[in-house]
């Protein structure tokens, strides 16, 4: 069920350049189910900034009623978020949307992420591993300074890193790594910039894939029609990223 709650901030730290890891606690965490869902955060009690910010859930700890997000402090809203400290409260609405279907993977899955699209793949990798699925992680970042969670992903499976400037791992994009890897997986999951999602879909037209999309949002719950994408399923309808997605099967979204 969707809740709105003033959650307690448990931990906030910068884990890479401008990248923050934020853990919050509260009843809302108990509602979390699928990896790839997101929450809608009000970063200030002020009307400026006015709108909530959508941030994915990076890992869930049901026992402690906590979950963790990872975000880049870039614009005004995320910068204000980065100023919060343990003990402060945070106005969170969630969990929202439909996440990655873990039950779709058979044996081996590729998890392909770019930049701030990487975080939701971590909870996904945990849940897939818990179901006995082998996961391979192909993660792209701007540069070495922007890399995060490399070791955590390694603990869960094979992990390949690409950086645009070549300062760490393979130089280039995740697609450069994908070209070198076998195609012995049954399912892929991906989250990152739209251009990356497109490239990944092109690379594996025969595979079952699930992709997480981004759009600017108003309500975050499906009521305002801000976050729509055209879809291959209908000429006369849109799908909404916030409530129909953000995760869609490959081939559904026209971007």
């Amino acid at each position: 069920m969707i809740k709105q709650e003033r959650m307690q901030i448990i931990k906030q730290q910068e884990i890479a350049k401008h990248i923050f890891e934020l853990t919050v606690q509260g009843e809302l965490a108990n509602e979390m189910a699928e990896p790839g869902q997101f929450v809608h955060i009000r970063v200030a009690d002020s009307f400026e900034p006015l709108l909530r910010r959508p941030i994915s859930v990076a890992s869930i700890d049901l026992e402690a009623s906590q979950f963790t997000m990872i975000y880049r402090a870039e614009g005004r809203g995320t910068q204000l978020l980065a100023e919060k400290r343990p003990g402060d409260t945070l106005d969170v609405l969630g969990p929202l949307g439909h996440g990655f279907p873990v039950e779709e993977a058979q044996k081996k899955a590729y998890l392909i992420g770019g930049g701030i699209g990487v975080p939701p793949l971590y909870e996904l990798a945990k849940q897939l591993n818990a179901r006995g699925i082998e996961t391979v992680h192909i993660l792209g970042f701007e540069s070495k300074q922007a890399v995060f969670y490399e070791d955590k992903f390694r603990d869960l499976g094979d992990t390949h890193i690409a950086t645009v400037d070549g300062s760490h791992g393979t130089q280039g994009f995740v697609t450069h790594i994908l070209n070198e890897l076998p195609t012995d997986f049954d399912t892929y999951y991906s989250c990152g910039p739209t251009a990356m999602l497109e490239a990944v879909q092109w690379a594996y037209p025969q595979k079952k894939g699930f992709l997480s999309y981004e759009q600017r949002m108003g309500c975050g719950i499906g009521a305002c029609f801000a976050c729509v994408c055209r879809t291959t399923k209908s000429e006369t309808d849109y799908i909404k990223v916030c409530s129909d997605g953000p995760v869609f099967p490959a081939g559904v979204v026209i971007s």
Binding site: Q4, L50, L51, R216, A223, F225, A226
Partner: protein, 304 residues
Amino acid sequence: MTDLTVKLPGLDLKNPIMPASGCFGFGKEYAQLYDLSQLGAIMIKATTVETRLGNPTPRVAETASGMLNAIGLQNPGLEKVTGQELPWLEQYDVPIIANVAGTTMEDYVEVAKAISQAPNVRALEINISCPNVKQGGITFGTDPDVARELTRAVKEVSSVPVYIKLSPNVTNIVSIAKAVEEGGADGITMINTLLGMRMDTKTGRPIIANITGGLSGPAIKPVALRMVYEVSQHTKLPIIGMGGVTNVDDVIDFLSAGASAVAVGTANFVNPFVCPEIIGQLPERLHELGFDSVEQLVGRSHRL
């Protein structure tokens, strides 16, 4: 006991609070969060004759204490709205105000005629003020003669009272209000959004794909309040006021300025529980201010 009820043409409201059109879809999403029967009424998303896809994205952009939107009247079309959305809403004990939009006068008439027959639709809100479509919309709301004509035409076919939604993007809002009064309107809803724009500073490109969008939220409250104050002085029509309402004190201000009821738009995105929260706070706030009923407060600023 504080009396929150409000009686308006076609509308017997439990309380004066309702979500504004376009900010609440057809109710389904918010129904996951609370019981819609708590609301005074619901203004549903604009309905047009045909299914509308609306504008390309991005459709929203944030501004200082406000937001721009250019949804472009996306909606499933008259048939689905009367066949699916409205029947679904019948499970709630809440009057529906149907927002009607179109490109030609005939469009408006067709939608108004059909949708006003739905059992839970108690009033129409004629959207002659949508800034985000190339044709129709705002053009009907900026010329008094056109507005009067359209009101007449819609009034003729509608089986429920007709409220006209005014655009703030005009030199003289009172002249438009008077024109729709002459045209036979039963009430006025105001204001729709102010036309605005935001750039991506890095590229110089407008952020909204439609280039311009409608400005809503707390930023526009002073403009909305001023217009409600002016129009309520110069027409006898009841007004449902809106524009930047986020809390119970904003509601008091709109009632004081002359609105009989108040709609909440953008604030639903910031706090999805804002409508029931305000409804819950109203009795105490009225009491603190020395009022026993909402109706006592209406137009208070004019009587000082």
